[in-house]
Amino acid sequence: MIEGVTLVEIMSLTTILFFIGVYGFLTRTNLMAMLMSLELMINAEAVNFVSINKYLSPAILQGQIFSLFIIALAAAETALAVAIILHLFRLTNTIDVKEVKTLKY
């Protein structure tokens, strides 16, 4: 744990970070920008897991290993999403969600 910093402060920080990510996800229409907002949200969750584990039950390591798995899943998700976005760009020449209609019908 961090000397002089309570769990409330860390969790408030990660809550703010998560909702900044939600704001970006709701306002952007570019798929790459939406993916970057998603990274912000995933990072906030990983910090939350680690800090709750460190402050409430430091003897066991469950939350910290969960955050490792979260990072592995985020890497997998990003690779797959980037592949899909690149293929979509080759198909339709745009990655704006307002203009991409390939999967719509």
């Binding site: 744990m1 961090i2 910093v5 309570t6 409330v8 402060e9 860390i10 969790m11 408030s12 809550t15 703010i16 970070l17 909702f19 900044i20 990510g21 939600v22 970006g24 709701l26 306002t27 952007r28 229409t29 570019n30 790459m32 920008a33 993916l35 970057m36 907002s37 990274e39 912000l40 990072n43 910090v47 680690v50 800090s51 460190k54 402050y55 409430l56 430091p58 066991i60 390591l61 910290q64 290993i65 490792l68 798995f69 990072i71 592995a72 899943l73 985020a74 997998a76 690779a79 797959l80 980037v82 592949a83 976005i85 690149l86 293929h87 760009f89 080759r90 198909l91 990655i95 704006d96």
Partner: protein, 176 residues
């Protein structure tokens, strides 16, 4: 001292995250996101979980950001600004996110009595490794194996998706 560093990192994280979701240029958004990820690895180091900080630096800053920047280079039109939803409609996401964040922070602050004080613990790499490969109760060997299979499947899937043809003829077939 740690408190000052934590607050510096928190200011960095919030400011650069806000810049990253509000800037009009996609490259700048990616670079601001890079600063956010670096500051988060600093928080992991402050929490004395050095392995996670190293993983954050190598996987996120070294891997995911490079993939994102290459993908932006291949897809972005450099001249135009980044499109967002219309400005008058932005009031709805602002209200929704601020209200939800305020509710969540209120819930966190009012339930803050469960914290244990002064528990110093450093997580070392061999602790993490033993936990990841142990098959006693509380061990993580099954998710570890599942995630390795998942990473293999994701690699194959990404190659298959990226190698697909342009699908123009197939679209015509679909329309028929």
């Amino acid at each position: 001292m740690e408190r000052i560093i934590f607050y510096l990192l928190a200011i960095f994280i919030v400011v650069f995250a806000l810049l990253s979701v509000t800037t009009k240029k996609l490259y700048r958004a990616a670079i601001y996101l890079l600063f956010v990820l670096l500051s988060i690895s600093g928080i992991y180091f402050l929490l004395e979980y050095n392995f996670m900080g190293a993983v954050q630096l190598s996987v996120y800053v070294g891997g995911i950001m490079v993939i994102l920047i290459y993908a932006i280079m291949m897809t972005d039109k450099i001249e135009g600004p980044l499109r967002t939803i219309p400005t008058t409609w932005k009031i709805v996401p602002i209200i929704v996110t601020v209200a939800t964040a305020a509710t969540a922070i209120y819930a966190i602050v009012t339930n803050s009595g469960i914290q244990k004080e002064n528990v110093a613990s450093v997580t070392t790499v061999d602790q993490v490794g033993e936990k990841l490969l142990s098959y006693d109760s509380g061990g993580f060997v099954l998710p570890f194996e599942v995630i390795s299979v998942l990473l293999l499947a994701v690699m194959i899937g990404a190659i298959v998706i990226a190698k697909a043809k342009k699908l123009v003829d197939q679209q015509k077939n679909i329309k028929l």
